[in-house]
Point group: C2
Chain length 422, copies 2
Amino acid sequence: MHIHRGNIVFTPTRQDFVTLSSGYVVVGDDGTVIECTERLSDRHAHIEVTDHGDRLIIPGFTDAHVHACQLPNVGLQSSMELIEWLHTLTFPQEASLGDPERADAVYGSFVELLLRNGITSSVIMGTIDADTTTILVDKLVEAGLKACVAKVSRDRNTSADAGEDTTHGVAEVRRFIQQTLARSTRVIPAVAPSVSMVCSRELMAALAEQAREFGIPCHLHLSENSTEVDVVLKMYPDCVDFVETYQRAGLMTNSNTVVAHAIHLTDREKQVIRDTGILIAHCPHSNLNLLSGVMKLADYHDAGIRVGLGSDVSAGHTLNMFANIVGAIQSGAMNYLTEHTSRPILAAEAFYCATKAGGSFFGKTGSFEPGYAFDALVVDDSMWLKHRDGKKMPLVQRIEKLIYCGDDRNIEHVYIDGRPLR
Amino acid sequence: MHIHRGNIVFTPTRQDFVTLSSGYVVVGDDGTVIECTERLSDRHAHIEVTDHGDRLIIPGFTDAHVHACQLPNVGLQSSMELIEWLHTLTFPQEASLGDPERADAVYGSFVELLLRNGITSSVIMGTIDADTTTILVDKLVEAGLKACVAKVSRDRNTSADAGEDTTHGVAEVRRFIQQTLARSTRVIPAVAPSVSMVCSRELMAALAEQAREFGIPCHLHLSENSTEVDVVLKMYPDCVDFVETYQRAGLMTNSNTVVAHAIHLTDREKQVIRDTGILIAHCPHSNLNLLSGVMKLADYHDAGIRVGLGSDVSAGHTLNMFANIVGAIQSGAMNYLTEHTSRPILAAEAFYCATKAGGSFFGKTGSFEPGYAFDALVVDDSMWLKHRDGKKMPLVQRIEKLIYCGDDRNIEHVYIDGRPLR
């Protein structure tokens, strides 16, 4: 066992921050939290304590939707909408990662950035290339991070080098899944029929079958852009909505599914997502950068839908999860101001998305309740405390300041399953 | 004379970036730009060249609205709306800066942050206290930055320690103006009747008179929040709108005026602002953080209104002007998506606000056209170029990436009037 002492902040519910000033997290030998307490009991008196002083201890972040291969395109927004952006910037970039040397460099930088930004778990799309996506898996395993990685699948309506033959693609997914399962338990494979528009029914059905066979998750794009929704509905005249295009293939049938964006949903679609317990990856910066629309987080939460937070790099421009949390709060404010939602988003609520809600995709991570993995960040915010004239700043204010002003410079240590990675 | 060589990017108009790859800026002995060119003419062959290699050279930023005294509150958004936020967090913070020792510490940090973030010019509100606001002036003068600083004025509807007696207040403004004019030409004083809600007509008229007498600018808040607008209109039943409350006092009569926020304007108000040539300080992060509404930048631009960009620290949470530019682009996207405006905001347009438009308040700064002060930043973006496989990235993409991903770490050198400050 081991004990960490510091200023502990986490969100067991999306309503409030739980704060323990100079508190203790008792971590078992298996790396999970035994208890979180302000006063250590006698039976723990003999256990070694790492004292983090006045630093904050917060849960590691989960990035619920990110394209590792697009890292070199980060910040190239160019004011394009989705479909133009895909063909001009994104597909060519993805295709270039088929080169193992290039994949090694880009994925190396990507994994380094995850660690530096305290993203202890992430739901990642690679490219259609199984071998170079396996390079990404290896780098994640080596770093000790948790992740769910998919070789992406596409077999139509895309540039020649961004798509693949259906049968070959399905076989490659199987090979990728088997390779990844053999490598590690922290990095799990997923199937990822990218989006209905670029996948045949045959491909989607085969991938749904593999997800069932191996008991692995499914990672999809859903209703990001109105034009895209129109195109999909024209391509699938027998489906009443976007979700049904997946349902008919046997996808979106269980909670081990993450759908990115989900901006333009019908009531039926929201109900399917809520009833199935599917995780939505809300990507606020991407929503705005690609002029897609702004997902209504408050409404979805109030309807009982499970929502994590995704950077969606490179449509989103940052792996700084503090900035992604601010994006969720600010786009929630915008929805509130334009009267689409009944209430704004509070800091604790957006923090909950980036930790416990997104983390639920990996089991128990993103909180410090008993039984949760000690996937944690030790954060130094001392630079902001110097004008306090010796007065203590309440922890709720410190976490809020961290969210609005923090970046990788504040993250001093990263723990996964109780072990320090950094 | 002196020459700077590097990758030059600036926005003479709000339509486009002008880029000069490995270009030259020829700077005269008075610190102003003589020419910006891709090929050096023979008559400049003998002049010393500082070669900034592959770095970018961009204009220094203007923060068109910022409260220096509120620095310790940065990031404490707390999801409050304006009036509650003023009374809970802001007025007490301002009052505490009456202590010279505290003012010295806070203003010292503030000026350091301006420099680190490349804010070569700023339009600053201090507090009601003339003496400690003069400490701020001294620190700006010492650092060599350009600024317009006001002792704030308030004489009603505020907490006891955030307001002052009218006659005393007016005398203190005069003293502050005279002290500041004696100190430097780079730091100029302004009058700042904070906002109609907390100022008597008598106070506003006296301040308007002083602005005329000394030929100095006026810095005001305008139409930030709907509740505030309602309160103001009740207090001034003889005025048709918020702007008229200022006009009747002899304020908002000339272009040497900056009004912060200006979110909820009537057509008459917009016309007054356009016809007078007044500068609006658009504060996108503040708009969203305080749930005030989102100013319609595209519409204002299309109507011919002059708009700079303000951090509005601490209602806005960052002095990183790249992040404020992204805030303007993203809140422009929100306005576009919710159909309040006809078009989104492009990166060049928001960059123009943060440089040339805001800079126009200080004369000629924020561009590299002939006659403009060489107020410039040398920027290192090499960390983002490593995955290019030797291919050059076009300068328009590099500036865009810098805007979306940049922070103080990228700003290597800061020049004002041709001289390096950092």
